[in-house]
């Protein structure tokens, strides 16, 4: 049954069928990765039942939240057939800015706007160069990755920004009801992103220009404009991730984030994003992030050495993609 559906899954396509919540998030493309996630959890639990203790699960989701946000960010870009190697350092840059704003006691609205603006500008930089010059996104963002990281260090003078007023931490890293705020934020991003992709022109056009750029152009879609938008969204989401991180650590380290890039891309692709463009799933990206977090948590939980953790994570990334393949076929 599911198998059958999976066979004719597609990013937007189903949108035209009668509406349903399931369809908003998923078209079964995520089955492979979900399976991988469940498997992983089972394995760890089998080794140490403690692992499944309710808290630990919440804990893992919490740890996944920022990676998940970045994974969704890069998914927006991957759907257009591009890639954004700069989200990691864009996060660092926004984090430093937001840290400075917070520590200098600006009110929340200013902090939020300032941080988002920083991210948006970073994205605008990428988007503009890519659309105007026609250089491959891979290389443009490779360059801007280095630029943003440099800027982050310059802005912060290479110092970790500390002295974040506790109210920010409480707000950004506290709890809403029983649920930790970062999880709530990640969830909101998931819903909004899914809605954008499934129910708006923007989402439709991103898929179109990722799937067939020239066709989109002939259909009168402003491909340049929408490509740029994708990068602005991606960096702005990185800025959201930045605020969450700063809130959680109570400090803004200019070296933050760089190491989140590859996990985020891995999560997005494991979640079904097609690096050739035209396909990608926000839910999948989130689950991909969860898978990686589960691995790290589980391996740490079992006190596995750093060396072996790296090998394990690499192997799982490849296995997860294999299971995607098999499920597609």
């Amino acid at each position: 049954m599911a198998k059958l559906e999976a066979a004719n899954a597609s990013p937007g396509a189903a949108a035209t069928e009668k509406w349903s919540v399931r369809r908003l998030f998923s078209e079964w493309r995520e089955l492979g990765i979900i399976a991988a996630l469940i498997m992983t959890v089972l394995v760890f639990t089998a080794i140490d039942p403690e692992f499944l203790s309710s808290y630990n699960l919440v804990n893992i989701v919490l740890q996944a939240s920022v990676t998940a946000i970045l994974a969704m960010a890069v998914t927006f870009v991957i759907i257009t057939g591009g890639i954004d190697l700069s989200i990691g350092t864009a996060l660092a840059l926004s984090a430093v800015v937001s840290g400075l704003l917070m520590s200098q006691g600006y009110p929340l609205p200013v902090v939020v706007l300032g941080t988002l603006a920083t991210g948006a500008l970073a994205g605008l930089f990428n988007g503009t160069i890519i659309t105007l010059s026609g250089i491959t996104p891979f290389v443009v963002t490779l360059g801007s990755m280095s630029i943003f990281s440099g800027l982050a260090l310059i802005v912060s003078g290479g110092q970790t920004v500390y002295g974040i007023p506790p109210e920010f931490s409480d707000l950004l890293a506290g709890k809403i009801g029983p649920i930790p705020t970062p999880i709530v934020i990640a969830f909101v991003v998931l819903v909004v992103s899914s809605v954008v992709m499934r129910m708006t022109k923007l989402g439709e056009y991103l898929i179109a220009l990722g799937g067939a750029r020239e066709v989109a152009r002939l259909a009168g879609i402003k491909v340049g404009f929408y490509t740029a938008i994708a990068y602005v969204i991606s960096s702005s989401l990185a800025a959201v991730g930045a605020m969450v991180t700063v809130g959680r650590l109570g400090a803004a380290d200019p070296a933050l984030g760089a190491d989140l890039l590859l996990p985020a891309i891995a999560a997005a692709v494991m979640g079904g994003a097609d690096l050739n463009g035209g396909e990608g799933s926000m839910l999948g990206a989130v689950i991909g992030a969860l898978l990686i977090a589960t691995l790290q948590a589980g391996l740490t939980f079992l006190n596995v050495q750093a060396f072996y953790q790296q090998v394990a994570i690499g192997v799982v990334i490849i296995l997860a993609l294999l299971s995607n393949r098999l499920q597609k076929a």
Binding site: N8, S10, P11, G12, A13, A14, A15, T16, E17, W19, M199, T200, K201, L202, E204, I207, A208, G210, G211, A212, E214, V215, A216, R217, L218, A219, G220, I221, G278, E279
Partner: protein, 501 residues
């Protein structure tokens, strides 16, 4: 509805358009009247598509003026064109593979509220258009899952749904077979009756005589003339205007001298696409394979060429059964496969003609490529197919006809002697067609065995010594040259009667 009395809906005056190195259009005129089907004719590279794209605002003209029902206008882009009531079906399939038929039909002009697409409206409009073309496929799955024919229908639906007064069709039948073409024509006639103005490009002359009220001919980007429907709209005059000379039509009164069986296909099957296909091809003969789009002909060819996995049955060459795990096995056995999709499967567009031509047989000396020989081989092979251009040109820079010749040259050099042509003249002009027919016939006479898949019935009748017909993945019939007529073939192709030879 005599076109001449009404006043033009759209008229193009003195249109010129150049691309780097090419004057694609020079001072071209065109008047388009409501309720007419206006054929635009010309050889490959004559400038037809360019002119149409200018009309549609996809290219902006360097010089020239537009008048829309008398009013001078400028068309600022595809969207603008759509708003002004001009829509277009492009020469290359232009759909977004990942989107559904519905999404593709409304793409670019979706009704939306605050950026949210009104899907119910989209469904309504799209499904109406599809229904009108009695589209059979699933409108909700990605169009990449539809057959070529179905995809073509979706494109037309897109053009209709925008309910434009002017509909531009650039070679809509190129990937359709007679049956689908007929369906398309009846729709076009309806549209004409409703007072739409249609511009229609095709390399199949028969269609033009069948359909067009007027035919305008371009040559080398220049306006040659316009023929009204009637006595003087006939093959000789049209061809003369297009090619600039008259072609001796070769109705080949030719008796193939049959040799041994070169290719034998026995009970071949590929799950879900075709079953139990058996036939043989002898040396010296050209076996035509007709059928509707989606009948499975290409898939049969791909399996014989080792491109797809075979689920059952066998392929043997010169009596020896092959084990086909990849195309290289087929090539080694002497099977050459000239695909229907030249641009993506026939030529490496960014490589030189020399490299393309010698791809299957790179001449080496002591492990290193012998460039001099490579160039020489390519030159002679290209010459033998009547293509005389520098071997350093990039394949992507050639017109459709010449590209096909280069593909042929490649396979001549490969030393293969069993040729499978899939739609050998799709999108190729009359002049080039004639040359390619001659080459195929010449190959056969030299003892090659040829299987020719074609959706162009006149072509099948003209070339084949024997005609196989496929329907829905089975071999529905075989017709000898003597009794081969359009009617019989269509009967087999569409299931009128069934008879196994």
């Amino acid at each position: 509805m005599s076109a001449s009395t009404a006043k033009p809906l759209l008229s193009l005056k003195g249109i010129s358009k150049s691309f780097p190195g090419v004057k694609a259009l020079q001072n071209v005129h065109l008047d388009l009247y409501p309720g007419e089907i206006h054929a635009l004719m010309g050889e490959n590279g004559a400038g037809k598509s360019t002119l149409l794209k200018v009309m549609f605002g996809a290219y902006s003209a360097d010089e020239g003026a537009f008048e829309l029902s008398g009013e001078p206008v400028s068309i600022r882009g595809p969207v603008d064109a759509l708003h002004k009531g001009i829509s277009m079906v492009h020469q290359e399939l232009s759909l977004v593979p990942q989107l559904s038929a519905i999404q593709n039909i409304v793409l670019g002009w979706e009704k939306s509220v605050a950026g949210f697409i009104d899907w119910s409206a989209a469904r309504r409009e799209a499904l109406a258009a599809l229904a009108r073309l009695d589209f059979q496929g699933n409108p909700h799955v990605p169009v990449s899952r539809l057959s070529v024919g179905q995809q073509q229908t979706v494109e037309l639906a897109r053009a209709i749904a925008a309910n434009a007064k002017i509909i531009i069709l650039d070679e809509p039948t190129a990937s359709l077979s007679t049956k689908e073409s007929e369906k398309l024509f009846s729709i076009l006639r309806e549209l004409r009756a409703d007072g739409h103005a249609l511009v229609y490009v095709s390399h199949r002359l028969a269609e033009v005589f069948d359909l067009a009220d007027r035919a305008t001919v371009l040559r080398d980007g220049q306006y040659v003339g316009t023929l009204l429907r009637g006595p003087d709209l006939n093959e000789t005059s049209l061809v003369k205007m297009m090619v600039g000379r008259s072609l001796e039509d070769f109705a080949i009164q030719h008796e193939a001298t049959l040799g041994a069986v070169a290719l034998k296909v026995d009970g071949l099957a590929r799950n879900g696409v075709f079953q139990n296909v058996s036939f043989e091809v002898r040396r010296g003969e050209i076996v035509g394979m007709a059928g509707m789009v989606g009948a499975g002909r290409t898939e049969v060819a791909r399996c014989i060429a080792g491109a797809d996995r075979i689920d059952a049955g066998s392929v043997s060459v010169n009596g020896k059964a092959l084990s086909l795990s990849s195309p290289s096995d087929a090539v080694r056995a002497g099977i050459a496969f000239l695909t229907e999709d030249r641009k993506h499967q026939g030529l490496a567009l960014r490589m030189s003609l020399a490299k393309n031509a010698t791809l299957t047989r790179v001449p080496t000396r002591m492990g290193f490529i012998n460039r001099t020989k490579q160039a020489a081989d390519a030159k002679s092979a290209l010459a033998s197919v009547g293509a005389r251009m520098p071997t350093t040109r990039l394949a992507g820079q050639l017109s459709g006809g010449n590209q096909q010749k280069v593909v042929l040259a490649k396979w001549l050099l490969s030393g293969c002697d069993i040729f499978i042509f899939d739609e050998p003249t799709r999108g190729i002009d009359v002049g080039a067609k004639a040359e390619i027919y001659a080459l195929m016939r010449d190959l056969a006479d030299k003892g090659a065995a040829i299987l020719m898949i074609s959706s162009d019935l006149p072509e099948v009748l003209r070339m084949s010594d024997r005609v196989l017909v496929m329907r829905e993945g089975t071999l529905s019939g075989e017709v000898a040259r003597a009794e081969a007529t359009e009617e019989r073939i269509i009967a087999f192709a569409s299931g009128g009667n069934t008879w196994q030879s």
